[in-house]
């Protein structure tokens, strides 16, 4: 019997031995390093060509700094937000000259149609992770500002929706102590399943709201920051009306009449402690 190691046997020995050593070593480790990271305060000036798109509401500009790839979005006359523009689905670049579109309400990744609110919150998949957001200080009067990124950057302030003018001055036609309006509003609240997200007693703790980000508003709380017009607006136009990125649906006039919407507002007001 020959014990000569032929070519095939030698190769098998070397190949299998190499795999046996290499694969367990390779399979366990994830390597992740972003080059050029650090902290930075990135100034911007709308007079510069790179940022000219931010002169108009809905306009955008792309910025690369300190290892981050950002998109700046002019959300209203006085506000600019800064988000990572790398889609959290498959890393498509959402600069608007690449695969991104900002339609005035949401940032859309054209690669696979993920939608993000101006807060960075995912509105529609396939992406499941929110975009990182960054603190912006913007002076509309001078058209200049800065973006803070990196260690030590202040947390991003909560973005509150700016109420459109047509809703800003509305007031509830029903008196605050109108028991009939409150009772009717409670019935409408139940009929439209508002409690599934906001909770049966307005605690913001409905079962469908548990996994939402941001969480549904709680009405059994201080509502002093909300005007009547604000509540009416949020019911009427839903999440599309502001940069909160919530999943609040639209209850148009076909769903709930103006009067019934005000009755719901009356009920919500009655929930305040």
């Amino acid at each position: 019997m020959s014990h000569t190691l032929d070519r095939r046997s030698l190769l098998k020995l070397l190949g299998c031995g190499g795999c046996a050593v290499a694969l367990p070593t390779l399979s366990g480790c994830t390597i992740a390093e972003v080059f050029g990271g650090g902290s930075a305060t990135v100034p911007f000036d709308l007079a510069q060509a790179q940022f000219a798109g931010l002169k108009n509401v809905g306009g955008t500009a792309a910025v690369d700094a300190a290892g981050r790839n950002l998109i700046l979005i002019r959300t209203n006359a006085t506000g600019i937000v800064a988000l990572s523009r790398i889609c959290t689905h498959t890393a498509c670049d959402m600069a608007t000259d690449r695969f991104g579109t900002f339609d005035g309400q949401k940032l859309i990744c054209r690669c696979h149609d993920s939608h993000f609110a101006p807060t960075g919150a995912v509105l529609k998949g396939p992406a499941t992770r929110d975009l990182a957001s960054y603190q912006v200080n913007f002076d509309a009067a001078t058209g200049t500002g800065t973006v803070q990124i990196g260690d030590g950057a202040p947390p991003v302030e909560e973005v509150r929706p700016t109420i459109p003018d047509e809703y800003a001055n509305l007031s509830n036609p029903f008196a605050a102590d109108d028991a009939d309006a409150i009772a009717a509003g409670e019935a409408l609240y139940a009929r439209n399943a508002c409690g599934s997200c906001h909770g049966d007693t307005g605690g913001g703790d409905g079962p469908s709201g548990m996994s939402q980000d941001p969480k549904p508003s709680a009405f059994a709380a201080d509502q002093s920051a909300w005007s009547d017009g604000y509540l009416f607006w949020r019911i009427r136009t839903g999440s599309a009306s502001g940069p909160t990125g919530s999943t609040m649906p639209v209850y148009g006039t076909r769903s709930i009449s103006d009067d019934d919407t005000w009755r719901i507002v009356s009920y919500l007001r009655s929930l305040q402690p």
Partner: protein
Amino acid sequence: MSTLTLAARALVGLLLCTGVALATPRMSLTAGTPCTACHVNPNGAEGRTEVGFVAMHRVGMLTWDKLGAQAYHDIDSNAFLDGMVGVGVDFRTQTARLGRPELVDEGGKSTTQVPDYTTFPMQAQPYLYVIPTGGLTLYGTWLMGPDTLRDGKFCDPVFKGMSCFGAQAMYELGGTLPNVRVGVFQPGIGVRHDDHTILTRGDAADRRVPIIAPGYAEAGGEVAWQPRQWVRTEVGVFNTHNLDLALNDGTKTADLWPVAWQGRVTLQPLFEFGGAEKKPKVEDEFGDDFGAADAAPVTPFVLNTWLGASGYGSGDFRLVNAFLGLGIHEGLALLSEVSMSQRTTQHDTLNGMVALSYTPWAWIAGTLRAERASTSTDTSDITTWQYVATLEFFPLPGIELRPEYRLVQTDDYRFGQATLQVHLFY
């Protein structure tokens, strides 16, 4: 097997395989079997012939007969109606971290965040072929997308330029005359690898939009001529609809004609060293061959080679590929390819790869691959590297597990991860 027969078999196989993917180019380089023996598509990949069906149906670390499923093991064809109609399917899932690492600032502290692992469908593709008469083959395939599986949407290309279907009629004129193909199929461009992330067809400046997308296909026609066994030429004319999507629906721009031209030349000499025919039989008076037992043949050392180049272009866009492959029967294969593209609006790419594969048994193979892609534009020069270690493991016939480790390095980040591909096929 005579040297001539061996050479002819290997040459024909290698010639036919350089166009599209083989499940693995390594199979052709090491075994020397023609793609058309196993795949209906002349360029390999996708639907399998009866020979291909049997080849895959009987290969696995465990085979069906050993598991007691003798009747299933004995199935020897994927065709019906006396071989006139055949079917097949590929289904793949991938488990990987989709995306890239990012720096995230939370609580005043910066950290590097990587995507979570996710499992997603990668390929769901049925095939059908019909051979109505000798020399003529009709072949069709449907490449489903995520929305096909979710919402029933017929066409859902994942990449710009991907075609959700292919349909072609292939006619062999016979003898040494050319073969003709018409329909919707991928033009012969370099080597089509079984990896949709391969950088030779990619763009370092825009990895989401490869120059030639996985599943790229166009309507057109091709004439293939093989006047000698060691040389094959192809020329074709194709529509540019999907090429336009890939090049002009991003930041890249190209001024394309309505049609594209294509040409490819492949030289595939086979070199044989040493070896000897089996010793003459020594028979006794009863005719018993008692001498054959120790008359082992000396196996010749056979080196299969590929050397070829292709060109593809339209308007101001040109894509040139060159490839070289070396393979031996003991299971080693070395494949390299260089790809260069240009267009008038400066967006030049120069990509390359080299892969070393080893197949100790038919049911397991390992590959190490290095790739580089670079893109030069008016404003930037961008380079991406990718290193991949792959194990193709077939525990049972029709089932492939493909663990990989991938390391990608761009100008912005470095990202290495283990992934797993599960491939079911029939």
